[in-house]
């Protein structure tokens, strides 16, 4: 099914390969799996705030993977066919795109996190995550495979990492301020902090040309 450490039975996979895997299960294994999902689904459907907070979107790309809280995402949509350029923008800002009749800023999240255009695997699917925090809504472009998982026991960032960012990590050391914690080997992004940092950097880019 999946090589991740967390319980695969609780994961709702978005990729087609999972459907094939299901097709290959024996009847007994399939019904056991269905039973497990049936046991968990009502909890998911009811969507109590606490449970919603546990749902994360896991984005996996060549260098690593990161999680974003689903509660902070409005929508996941296909990326726009083109972006409108804006002067004095950071390199990781793709541009402006239309969303629900308004122009929103779209940033390349993978590029923002890694600072590395080479690392992007364009064979991976592109999705646009519409994230919101406070009165800011942004489009986060991700090149990755995405799954929805439930995170029960996220670990906060180790204090050492907070004080002295890990320079060997796949993400830029300066991005440690937008990381809320770790789950298995994935980093969990703090969406409000992420959006605040993006806004701040766009403002800085404007004032410094």
């Amino acid at each position: 099914m999946n090589t991740h450490d967390y319980d695969s039975a609780l994961a709702a996979y978005l990729d087609v390969s999972h459907v094939h895997e299901l097709a290959q299960l024996s009847e007994e294994a399939f019904w056991n799996y269905a039973q497990k999902l049936a046991d968990t689904n009502p909890a998911i459907r009811e969507q109590s705030p606490a449970q919603m907070d546990k749902e994360y979107l896991e984005c996996t790309f060549g260098k690593g993977h990161f999680l974003l809280s689903l509660a902070a995402l409005y929508e996941i949509v296909p990326p726009p066919r083109r972006y409108t350029d804006l002067p004095d923008k950071p390199v990781w800002m793709a541009g402006l795109a239309a969303w629900h009749g308004s122009a929103i800023v779209v940033i390349d999240l993978t590029l923002y996190l890694t600072g590395d255009t080479v690392s992007m695997d364009h064979a991976l699917s592109e999705s646009l995550l519409i994230a919101h925090a406070g009165d800011v809504s942004l489009g986060l472009l991700v090149h990755s495979n995405s799954n929805i998982i439930i995170v029960n026991d996220m670990l906060p960032m180790p204090l050492d990492d907070v004080r002295l960012p890990d320079t060997t990590a796949w993400y830029l050391p300066t991005r440690h301020t937008v990381i809320m914690g770790k789950y298995a080997d994935a980093i969990v992004l703090d969406v409000p902090a992420l959006l605040a940092d993006i806004v701040r950097q766009i403002e800085i880019a404007a004032s410094h040309g």
Binding site: R82, Y83, T84, D85, L86, A98, V136, A206
Partner: protein, 814 residues
């Protein structure tokens, strides 16, 4: 009236109390005429019940009325501002509400004294609501807002028609009923309260007013005034849109029918194709048959016949040979060569359809195939026609939707002329006006602006108008004779630039300082800017630039580099096609994605380019673009604050779902790096011919000659290059040309005071690096706080020792 101090009048001066006593005494007068007035009639404005006949004799009736209107306007403004600061759910600031209560009380009294019973009643309602608020009753703030609106509406009707309209009062009373507030009983036709004590009156009033629990109340919607003509236009366009439903449905049905027919024809063709494919050599035959039609059906037909005969032979074991070939001896033991011979023969075999014995299965198939192909072609044509009709109808519907949207947005708009009457009154009430020395000019009063924005702007504009008719200190110091001979010009000019509205209020007078500081907060809230200019008439002008909030905008869609951008029509005088030989005032937008309009420095190729010639108000600049793509009318929305860029005023979404930037070429030019660099270089060379590159410049803005002289001396001795100016306007003019290292700024100065200047400086990016030290005799904390809020870096009070001053400058200048 009971003179026992109550929470209401505690802390008032004896003068205030005397005024209140007068107002209370007037209540009797205020209510009395109303009792005599039938409910459904209004009362003409009169001065019959003026409180003080001695005072009244000193003024004409007209003067008194103007004063009364102006006073009530100011009181309403105080109430509105005060109520805006009350936030739902927050703890009530009782002191502030008491102050508002006093203001409402004053309106009630003065209006009653002037026989304006409806205004007086609304004033009383407002006062009561505020009193209930202080007593902890759950009063919706919306009710207070509506009460203020009722005061404004009634005053407005009084000004325009000379009569009070009852409409606003009735609306307000209806709102009370909706909120289950029994506030209207007795109050409108109340007997004089002079026989009861204040506290008893309050108790009675409280017993009448029993607010319902909050959850039982309906929520009053926030309302805007809507011009009937606009509303009717909206209805017409909505009707047109609804009418399009039938043709749209019909067009959709036609497409569906055409699609079904096409599918049927295609299915038939597919069936025939599969049938045909069962024939041997069908592939080669089909190639030769249908792709080489010009070579003749005869040849292909013959091969098909051969195929059929071969197929039949295989199925039933009987061999067929055509007559002509049999005659040539083909077919006897030559089956293997039949096909090659048949193909190689040059003699054409013609098929005569009337020759029944030759009419084979293949010919039938051929005919059916031809029919099927013709059916597909016909169905395709029908589908194309249906699609064209659907597209046409959809275009009409889109156009209709745009009209409806535009109409709906325009409901929020109102012409600036709706405020002009008040501005004119302000001008007319000035002393100079009464001597007939002021000429008031108006231009662009039909320019439209959001109602909410105009509401916010009302007081700032009135304030600026008052400023423009009030001579400043220096103006007053000029000789009386010169002043008397001077005809004062005051103007109100408005221009719609599409994406923003520019309002200029100017005067040929040198006016009082402090106006900018007064209006700055409102303008910031509205994302607007204010600049102050010396004008050609020898006075000062205030130019307000206000972005239009959402609204439909018509503009020219142009290509600049790889991007499509929109330039509002309101900025374009005409489009020329030029060889670009004359590069004077010519800029190009084509260096996107930098998206700044750069001066055209190099001679371009001899080619015709579209050049947008901007209106003379925009310095007659010309902007070259790569192509003009057409016109566009869409809703423009502002960008989020953190992505706003100079010269980009908003965005539109085009039909393809792409974001288009709406640009202001003039602003782009103003902020173009090369242009800025060129300008500053030119100015520096003129202003500082001897300035060394490392020299630090300190600008001293102080109207005191002695202090300025002393500061200049101190600074020069300390190695700074010091420049002095004696008023805020000169300081601003210097700052617009140069960015000194440090600005030493006094607060009290002519034309523009220190606060004004700080406010204006904050709107100029190139002045962000200037360190400002306030040097003033005002030592109170509120002045310090205000200056720091406006961007001052340090605050020193006079007298200030040289050491402290130089240390502060050094710490800031580095």
């Amino acid at each position: 009236m009971d003179e026992t101090p109550t929470p209401f009048n505690e802390g008032l001066s004896p003068e205030d109390l005397a005024v209140l006593r007068d107002f209370d005494a007037m209540e009797f007068i205020a209510d009395e005429p109303h009792e005599e007035t039938p409910q459904n009639t209004t009362k003409r404005l009169s001065t019959a019940a003026l409180p003080n006949a001695d005072t009244a004799e000193e003024f004409s009736q007209e003067d008194m009325l103007l004063l009364f209107i102006s006073e009530v306007e100011e009181d309403i403004s105080v109430l509105r501002n005060g109520i805006q600061q009350l936030k739902p759910g927050e703890a009530r600031d009782v002191v502030r509400i008491h102050s508002l209560e006093r203001t409402a009380h004053k309106i009630k009294g003065t209006a009653g004294a002037f026989g304006c019973s409806i205004l007086s009643t609304i004033g009383r309602y407002t006062e009561t609501l505020l009193r209930l608020l202080t007593q902890g009753a759950a009063i919706e703030l919306e009710l207070l807002v509506q009460a203020i609106a009722a005061l404004e509406g009634t005053l407005s009707s009084l000004v325009i028609t000379g009569e009070e309209s009852r409409a606003a009062l009735e609306d307000l009373e209806a709102a009370f009923k909706l909120h289950a507030l029994d506030i209207t009983v007795d109050t409108y036709t109340s007997s004089p309260p002079s026989h009861t004590t204040e506290s008893n009156a309050q108790k009675q009033e409280m017993s009448r007013i029993t607010p319902r629990p909050l959850q039982e109340r309906a929520i009053l919607p926030v309302s805007v005034r809507v011009e009937m003509a606009r509303f009717e236009q909206l209805l017409v366009h909505t009707g047109e849109m609804a009418d399009l439903q039938v043709p749209l449905r019909s067009a959709q049905e036609q497409v569906e029918v055409a699609l079904q027919e096409l599918h049927a024809a295609q299915a038939r063709l597919t069936r025939l194709e599969s049938h045909y494919s069962t024939f041997p050599l069908s592939a080669s035959v089909s190639d030769s048959t249908f792709s080489r039609q010009d070579e003749g059906i005869a040849r292909s037909a013959s091969s098909m016949i051969a195929n059929i005969l071969d197929g039949a032979e295989e199925r039933i074991g009987h061999r067929y040979v055509r007559k002509e070939l049999r005659e040539k001896g083909v077919g006897k033991g030559q089956r293997g060569n039949f096909r090659s011979q048949q193909f190689s023969t040059e003699e054409p075999l013609y098929w005569d359809e009337l020759e029944i014995d030759r009419y084979t299965e293949t010919d039938t198939l051929k005919n059916v195939l031809s029919e099927a192909i013709a059916d597909v072609a016909a169905a395709s044509a029908q589908l194309r026609t249906a699609f064209a009709l659907l597209n046409d109808t959809l275009q009409k519907q889109m156009s209709s939707v745009m009209h409806v949207r535009s109409d709906a947005l325009s409901l929020h708009l109102t012409p600036l002329s709706s405020l002009l009457a008040r501005i004119e009154r302000v001008v007319a009430m000035n002393d100079n006006a009464q001597q007939g020395s002021i000429v008031f000019e108006v231009r662009g009063e039909t320019t439209e602006i959001d109602q909410e924005m105009l509401e916010e702007l009302k007081n700032p504009l009135l304030h600026l108008a008052r400023t423009c008719v009030t001579p400043g200190l220096q103006e007053r110091e000029s000789s009386d004779l010169a002043r008397e001979q001077k005809k004062v010009r005051v103007w109100f000019h408005a221009t719609d630039l599409g994406n923003e509205v520019v309002i200029e209020i100017g005067s040929s007078l040198n006016v009082e300082s402090g106006a900018v500081n007064e209006v700055q907060d409102t303008l910031r809230r509205l994302h607007g800017t204010i600049i102050v200019l010396r004008n050609n008439a020898g006075g000062m002008s205030f130019q307000l630039r206000l972005p239009r909030s959402q609204g439909s905008l018509r503009g020219l869609l142009v290509r600049a580099g790889s991007q499509h951008v929109v330039v509002p029509f309101a900025q374009i005088q005409r489009i020329d096609y030029e060889n670009l030989e004359d590069t004077l005032s010519l800029y190009t937008l084509s260096n996107l994605p930098g998206l700044s309009a750069e001066p055209l420095l190099e001679q371009p190729k001899k080619q015709m380019y579209p050049v947008l010639v901007l209106y003379p108000e925009n310095s007659g600049m010309r902007v070259q673009v790569d192509a003009v793509l057409g016109e566009i009318e869409q809703v423009m929305k502002p960008l989020a604050a953190y992505v706003r860029r100079a010269g980009i005023v908003g965005t539109m979404i085009d039909d393809g779902g792409d974001v288009l930037l709406v640009v202001n070429p003039v602003e782009l030019i103003r902020h173009a790096p090369q242009q800025r660099h060129a300008l500053s270089k030119e100015r520096d060379s003129v202003a500082f011919p001897l300035a060394k590159s490392q020299e630090k410049v300190v600008l001293v803005a102080d109207d005191s000659v002695s202090i300025r002289g002393s500061l200049l001396q101190t600074l020069t001795n300390a190695g700074y290059r010091a420049v002095g100016v004696d008023n805020g306007m000169e300081a601003l003019e210097f700052l617009l040309d140069h960015a000194p290292t440090v600005l030493l700024l006094d607060i009290e100065m002519p034309y523009l005071n220190g606060y004004d200047l700080l406010s204006i400086m904050s709107a100029h990016e190139h002045l962000a690096s200037v360190k400002t030290i306030m040097l003033t005799s005002r030592s109170s904390e509120k002045h310090r706080k205000r200056a720091m809020e406006l961007g001052a870096d340090a605050y020193l009070t006079k007298p200030c020792s040289q050491d402290v001053l130089l240390a502060t400058i050094k710490s800031l200048a580095g």
